[in-house]
């Protein structure tokens, strides 16, 4: 794969005589192929499942040091991979006074007004802004950082909107917030020619999609597993690097967070809205998320649910490998990161082990994303004296692990549609999962027909080790109950969640978009 890595092509975008190098450019923010996880596996599946289409991958990372080696072997239909790190955006340059393009700045402000009004953005405004961003005759990064027009914009907006007293905080927030956009516009310009775009999130990747789609006039598809904007909001509500002004006089409880925090939240909301507006199709994994996208500004007619699927046949063998006796092993398959709430799993294990001292808890998943959290989890295990019961197995081939598990546990505080539940079902393992994303649908069933199959496990509320442990103990301690759950899960997955269904839907979506693409068909020799 090496020759593909870091390959950048400096093609002139407007010249369509250049042959596209791939059908679809996948825009990936912090996932495949450098980070393992649900989204990444899904991408890998799509790439492998649609071998007749070709792909170019554009990876956007945060800081370079957070990513190690490639975690997946890229299939042959991946024709291009380029990697960019957003944190490497610099606010430096040559600070020289410059006027700045007044006309382009006016368009840019029109765009911001539309955000503030929650209006639909006029296509011509969007086009003007994204074609001028980073262009020498538009608004370059230097224009943004040093020009008088930029100063005028910042001061006027501050006066008009900002409710927080500190101008210098506002000033730097605006700069830090927008600087990455110039990097994105640069990426968009230099990216190789493709026939359509598919972004796996909104956010920066979504914006890159908007830019490329605007600049090249090609279709943009959005698939969201989680809801990017929502996740950002939670991060931002907590972020310590934003300081809220404190009302030193009042003892009242104020719900309002500071303007700058709000500004950051609105920034990501705006990125989402632009992506939704520009997209030709918006796909979510389950109905809850589809509703959410619509609230966040996605036009309803573009929205569609395509659930993930697995290949139940692959797991038949695993079911046969299962030992006679029910193993008292609780498995949690997932990256060791806070959103998976591994700690609650560990706490639950403390309770489980009080009642079932020979029980084991296996944490199966890569530990390289958030080393401090991993450390916290490990010291939590120590402080509970659970060193002999709870094991961190790192990344494993799930086929090796699944037959040894007695129960699948999912403690996530947020999920979309976790594949591990489907895989566990297929391997004949019931699940205890938190009430997030589509977990309730997966465990208890969605439609009447589905519900009739029975529960494939238990749904518990999040961050509740007691309840989690209780549910696990009930299933592991009651063989009949366990068998019933196993049966229901198996039925559910093969009836409603197969890979074949997902592939065919995506193939149709891609072909439909490619047909509309203004770019000539790929010459596959």
């Amino acid at each position: 794969m090496d020759p593909l890595k870091h390959q950048t092509q400096h093609n002139s975008v407007s010249q369509k005589k250049h042959k596209p190098i791939a059908d679809v450019a996948l825009l990936l923010e912090g996932t495949y192929p450098y980070i393992r996880g649900g989204v990444s596996s899904w991408v890998h599946q799509i790439l492998n499942g649609l071998p007749d289409l070709t792909f170019a991958l554009i990876f956007l990372g945060g800081a370079r040091e957070h990513y190690g080696d490639m975690q997946y072997e890229l299939p042959d239909n991946v024709k291009h991979l380029e990697v960019h790190y957003m944190m490497e955006t610099s606010l430096e340059g040559n600070p020289r006074a410059r006027p700045g393009n007044a006309e382009k700045f006016a368009d840019m402000r029109e765009l911001h007004r539309a955000f503030k009004r929650n209006d639909i953005i006029k296509p011509e405004v969007m086009q003007s802004v994204f074609n001028s961003l980073g262009a020498a005759d538009g608004i370059t990064k230097e224009d943004f950082l040093f020009s008088e027009q930029a100063w005028k914009t910042i001061t006027e907006d501050y006066q008009q909107y900002c409710t927080e007293p500190s101008f210098i905080d506002y000033f730097w927030s605006v700069r830090i917030m927008h600087a990455p956009l110039f990097m994105l516009s640069d990426i968009a310009r230099k990216a190789p020619p493709v026939r359509m775009l598919h972004t796996i999130s909104t956010g920066y990747a979504g914006l890159l999609g908007v830019m490329m789609s605007q600049q090249r006039d090609i279709p943009l598809l959005i698939s969201e597993h989680g809801i990017y904007t929502k996740e950002r909001k939670i991060d931002l509500a907590q972020a310590n690097w934003i300081h809220d002004p404190v009302d030193a006089m009042g003892s009242n409880l104020q719900a309002d967070s500071g303007y700058i925090r709000q500004m950051w939240i609105r920034f990501f909301e705006a990125l989402g809205r632009m992506a939704y507006q520009q997209a030709t199709q918006i796909i979510s994994l389950y109905d809850g998320n589809r509703q959410r996208q619509i609230t966040d500004g996605a036009p309803e007619q573009k929205c569609q649910v395509v659930p993930n699927g697995i290949d139940p046949e692959r797991f038949t063998k695993l079911r046969e490998q299962r030992p006679e006796a029910l193993p008292k092993v609780l498995g949690l398959i997932g990256r060791v990161v806070p959103i998976k709430d591994i700690k609650t799993f560990i706490r639950a294990m403390r309770v489980v082990c009080d009642r079932m001292p020979d029980a084991e808890g296996w944490i199966i998943g890569p530990e390289d994303e958030d080393p401090t959290y991993v450390q916290e989890c490990k010291s939590l295990v120590e402080s509970f004296g659970l060193e002999n019961n709870v094991k961190f197995l790192g990344f494993q081939n799930i086929a090796d692990v699944l037959p040894k598990l007695g129960l699948m546990v999912l403690t996530s505080i947020s999920e979309a549609q976790p594949l591990v539940i489907l895989e566990a079902y297929a391997a004949g393992i019931p699940c205890v999962a938190t009430d997030v994303g589509s977990c309730r649908e997966l465990i208890e069933g969605l439609t009447e027909e589905d519900k009739a199959l029975g529960a494939g496990g238990t749904v518990v509320s999040i961050a509740d080790p007691e309840a989690t442990a209780q549910a696990a103990l009930e299933l592991l301690g009651d063989e009949d109950k366990w068998l019933a759950a196993q049966h229901a899960g198996l039925k559910r997955v093969s009836q409603f969640y197969t890979l074949e269904r997902m592939f065919s839907t995506y193939r149709d979506l891609y072909l439909d978009s490619l047909e509309k693409s203004s770019w000539p068909e790929l010459d596959l020799k």
């Binding site: 409710t163 007293p165 929502k230 409880l253 104020q254 719900a255 967070s257 999040i462 080790p465």
Partner: protein, 337 residues
């Protein structure tokens, strides 16, 4: 003394040079002879001054010496006198910079910092839970979670736990993130203290043990840990504190143990520790309310009344305590407060 000889030689050389200079009637030869003797005098006298400089001014020695020689050579006689009086003397007489206890400042301008006071609902402590349970608009519940930041930590955690069961993902996620943050901070502190504890000795060790026990206690008390985990933390704290209440017993450790056992609902043990803490000199106002509680739990109502009376007599009773006082001391004399 070498210093004395240095000075005498330097002065002699300088006088000799000067008299030669004037004796030879300012000829070129006299200039050279003067320059030579003046240079030697400067070298010697600089050596003398160098030896008298406060120690830390002597290093680095070579540039210091050169500087001294340069000044004295360039300004004959006057330079030497000036260096002794103007620099050397001044170095020994630094002005004491007292930090003034107060400073005159001008009346500042009115602050141009209009913090935008939201016209939206402000919640009262009790109202937050209400909003969280009743409000149908998720945005409202979200705001209630945000606002709960400002109330006392224990109630905050309680509200966040409540919010974790919210049907809407956003509210749950926010509450979770806030809880996680709180816990992270305490855990970090714990790890830090644990690390320090290994190295600490004697008095410091005892103090750190107390601090670490406090961390465990806080984790349980705030409600960040529950069920078995909470039990575990409390036990951990007891384990840490136990050695501290052996003789000589630590008063604060006794008090904390009392609170832990109170939390564990072992009333009589708690009562014992509170009594010990009181005997060891912990201020009455910090102990008496707890004693009243343990006595109440143990159904020794006479004792309850007695402790409350004593608490009131300290004159430091919390205003929130008034209904309790009124109930228990009905008929009895309510203290001067």
């Amino acid at each position: 003394m070498a210093g004395k000889w240095l000075v005498i030689q330097a002065i002699f050389l300088e006088i000799a040079g000067l008299s030669l200079f004037f004796y030879l009637d300012s000829s070129v030869a006299s200039l050279w002879s003067y320059l030579f003797s003046h240079f030697c005098a400067s070298l010697l006298f600089s050596l003398f001054i160098l030896s008298l400089l406060p120690k830390h001014y002597q290093r680095p020695i070579i540039p210091t010496y050169f500087a001294l020689v340069t000044i004295q050579f360039s300004i004959p006689v006057l330079g030497s006198i000036g260096t002794v009086l103007g620099i050397l003397l001044a170095l020994y007489l630094p002005r004491h910079r007292h930090s003034a206890p107060w400073r005159e400042v001008n009346i500042p301008d009115l602050p141009y910092q209009p913090i935008n006071i939201s016209s939206e609902a402000l919640y009262s402590h009790g109202g937050l839970t209400q909003v969280l349970r009743e409000a149908s608009d998720p945005a409202k519940r979200l705001k209630a979670v945000m606002a709960s930041k400002h109330i006392n930590p224990r109630d905050h955690v309680r509200i966040l736990r409540e919010a974790l069961k919210d049907p809407v993902d956003d509210v749950r996620l926010l509450a979770y993130a806030m809880l996680d943050d709180k816990e992270k901070k305490i855990t970090e502190r714990m790890n830090q203290h644990q690390k320090e504890l290994v190295k600490a000795k004697g008095e410091h060790h005892a103090r750190l043990t107390l601090v670490l026990a406090q961390d465990y206690w806080e984790m349980a008390y705030l409600g960040l840990a529950q069920g078995g985990v909470r039990q575990h933390f409390l036990n951990k704290a007891i384990q840490l504190l136990q050695p501290l209440v052996e003789y000589p017993a630590d008063a604060m450790a006794c008090r904390m143990l009392g609170r832990i056992y109170l939390e564990l609902e072992q009333w009589d043990v708690a009562n014992g520790y509170f009594l010990r803490a009181l005997a060891l000199g912990v201020e009455q106002k910090h102990i008496l309310p707890y004693l009243a509680e343990t006595s109440f739990r143990m159904r020794r109502y006479k004792k309850v009344q007695e402790y409350i009376q004593r608490y009131v007599d300290t004159g430091t009773a919390d205003p929130g305590f008034i209904p309790v006082m009124n109930y228990w001391l009905k008929g009895a004399s309510v203290g001067s407060s």
